[in-house]
């Protein structure tokens, strides 16, 4: 049973890795976008497992993007390495602000993270000498000179790393700590869990992942700008995906990202920009009729056949 499951994972991975052999540039570009949102949705869910709702993803995504782009441009480090440095920058920043912000809970935390993302954007916008100001900065070339196969492999790597990180967090003591904290902090503390330490840890890790994704995104498009790199889309769409697919799991956000990602590609063809409206509708329906998401609802049905 277990072996056949791993076999399935390996099969899916082989199909994904060899995808560029069978398809064209258009599909690869669509896959890039889906995988980027998939990784963001996962990172959001990983923090949510501690009960903390973040609306600050775009902020850390943008910081990672700017850090990667500017480090590459100004110091000449390898783009791939600069992407990792982007993640590092987002992680360090999250650690610094997390020490204060993680004193807050629930909606207070959510609102402050939303504000933080906006603050980062405003700061970046107002440092023209360093960041290029409102116009942003264009890199001399996109990563891998725009080679779509290699770009796809880069994004796939980021997504797979996120999936692996999420699964590790689901299977180790971290899972027990975060689930306890989400349920009841007093019970968690009384069980010997250092609540604050775990919250800082998970916030730093998920922020670093968001920074890496932002770094990859910046290098793929060869461009960073305050409005583009800190777009609220990078906060709202991943949340919608995780909600639709199902929270507190690895496969929920994955399924949600694939479904909404594909759906939005189709919708874009028929109703330009209207796809956001349809997105909203899907989310409302999902929350009203299956609040545990697709994966959560299916899982329950399978457990208790009625």
């Amino acid at each position: 049973m277990r072996n056949s499951r791993y076999l399935l994972y390996i099969l899916i991975l082989i199909i994904l890795v060899t995808l560029p052999l069978h398809t064209g540039v258009y599909l690869l570009n669509v896959m890039d976008v889906i995988l980027i949102y998939l990784a963001l949705a996962l990172s959001w869910d990983m923090l949510l497992r501690s009960g903390q709702i973040s609306f600050g993803m775009a902020g850390l995504f943008g910081v990672g993007g700017y850090a990667a782009a500017l480090l590459h441009l100004n110091t000449g480090v390898n783009p791939l390495f600069s992407i990792i440095l982007g993640g590092l920058a987002a992680g360090v920043l999250a650690w610094l602000v997390g020490m204060a912000v993680l004193q807050l809970r629930g909606m207070y935390f959510a609102i402050v993270t939303l504000a933080l993302a906006e603050i980062f954007r405003v700061i970046v916008r107002n440092l023209p000498d360093l960041t290029g100001g409102p116009e942003g900065t264009i890199l001399p070339s996109a990563i891998f000179a725009g080679n779509s196969t290699k770009t796809y492999w880069l994004v796939l790597t980021v997504a797979v790393v996120s999936v692996i990180a999420s699964e590790i967090f689901r299977r180790t003591r971290i899972h027990f700590a975060l689930t306890s904290i989400r349920n009841d902090e007093v019970v968690a503390k009384s069980s010997g869990i250092d609540v604050f330490k775990y919250l800082v840890f998970i916030f730093v890790i998920t922020s670093a992942i968001q920074g890496i994704i932002g770094g990859a995104y910046a290098h793929i498009y060869g461009f960073v700008s305050p409005e583009g790199s800190f777009s609220i889309d990078f906060t709202l769409l991943p949340i919608a995906m995780a909600l639709l697919g199902g929270m507190h799991s690895t496969w929920g956000p994955v399924v949600g990202a694939v479904l909404l990602g594909v759906a939005s590609e189709f919708l874009k063809l028929y109703i330009p920009y209207g796809h956001l409206l349809v997105y909203g509708l899907i989310i409302v329906i999902a929350i009203l009729f299956f609040p545990q998401g697709i994966v959560g609802t299916l899982g329950q049905r399978l457990k208790k056949p009625r």
Binding site: R173, F176, N183, S190, D194
Partner: protein, 238 residues
């Protein structure tokens, strides 16, 4: 030597003294009853000892170590365990996993040993079908699970906060036996209870709290005849 000792312990909420000048001692492997009318400060006392609230004044010594300023998770790791007056099971975790939280973090066991320890405790408390979802459990089972969870942190001193509340008399008898079994493992127990039969049968000594102060202390037989205690429970004679 006393396992736990408090010195002039006080806790205020605003101007209200929920605990005031509390000097008590838990002797090794005794069962100490903590009784008093509603709002007397019994649960606050547990919360201050367990570190959920820090004391406003006074000191707490655990095995001679001053723990007054330590956060709750550190106190748990030192060996102070507790259950909750209103059950607080962890949703999204199975019965066994709920208990495992205690064994994983109380003494920092690895997952394999933590699972083994949790299984052993479920068996000890008579909990079967341990992979069950907690939504399928009865009230008594949830209470037992919470005791298992607290025991899994491997406490030296365990507080049981009204574990008999809501149980019928057969279940109460079963729970009394369980507390005896836990005690025979060498654990010192502090028990808050409204059911006086339980206190009479189980405790070596009791302390009586009223308006946050200790008004009587001693074996149940003595304390229950103390006029101040009777007044606290029943009020003055008109």
């Amino acid at each position: 030597m006393a396992v736990l000792k408090t010195e002039n312990l006080a806790r205020y909420f605003g101007g209200l003294a929920a605990l005031n000048q509390v000097n008590v001692e838990f002797r090794e492997n005794e069962i100490l009853g903590i009784i008093g009318p509603n709002g007397a400060g019994k649960t606050t006392f547990i919360n201050v000892i367990a570190g959920i609230y820090l004391p406003t004044e006074g000191k707490i010594f655990f095995n001679g170590q001053d723990i007054s300023g330590l956060p709750a998770h550190r106190r748990c790791r030192l060996g102070i365990g507790r259950t909750f007056q209103l059950v607080r099971p962890l949703q999204g975790l199975s019965l066994l996993e709920n208990v495992m939280v205690g064994s994983l973090f109380g003494k920092g066991l690895g997952q394999r040993e933590a699972r083994k320890k949790a299984k052993e405790l479920c068996e000890f408390l008579g909990l079967s079908d341990i992979t069950r979802d907690i939504t399928e459990m009865t009230a008594l089972e949830i209470k037992k699970m919470e005791i298992a969870h607290a025991l899994a942190t491997q406490p030296e001193l365990l507080f049981l906060d009204e574990v008999m509340a809501g149980l019928n008399s057969d279940e109460t008898m079963e729970m009394i036996d369980l507390v005896r079994k836990i005690h025979s493992r060498g654990i010192t127990i502090g028990i808050v209870e409204h059911v006086m039969r339980v206190i009479r049968e189980l405790t070596h000594r009791v302390i009586v709290l009223d308006w946050g102060e200790v008004i009587a202390e001693g074996p149940y037989g003595e304390v229950s005849n103390d006029p101040r205690v009777i007044t606290a429970y029943l009020g003055e004679e008109a």
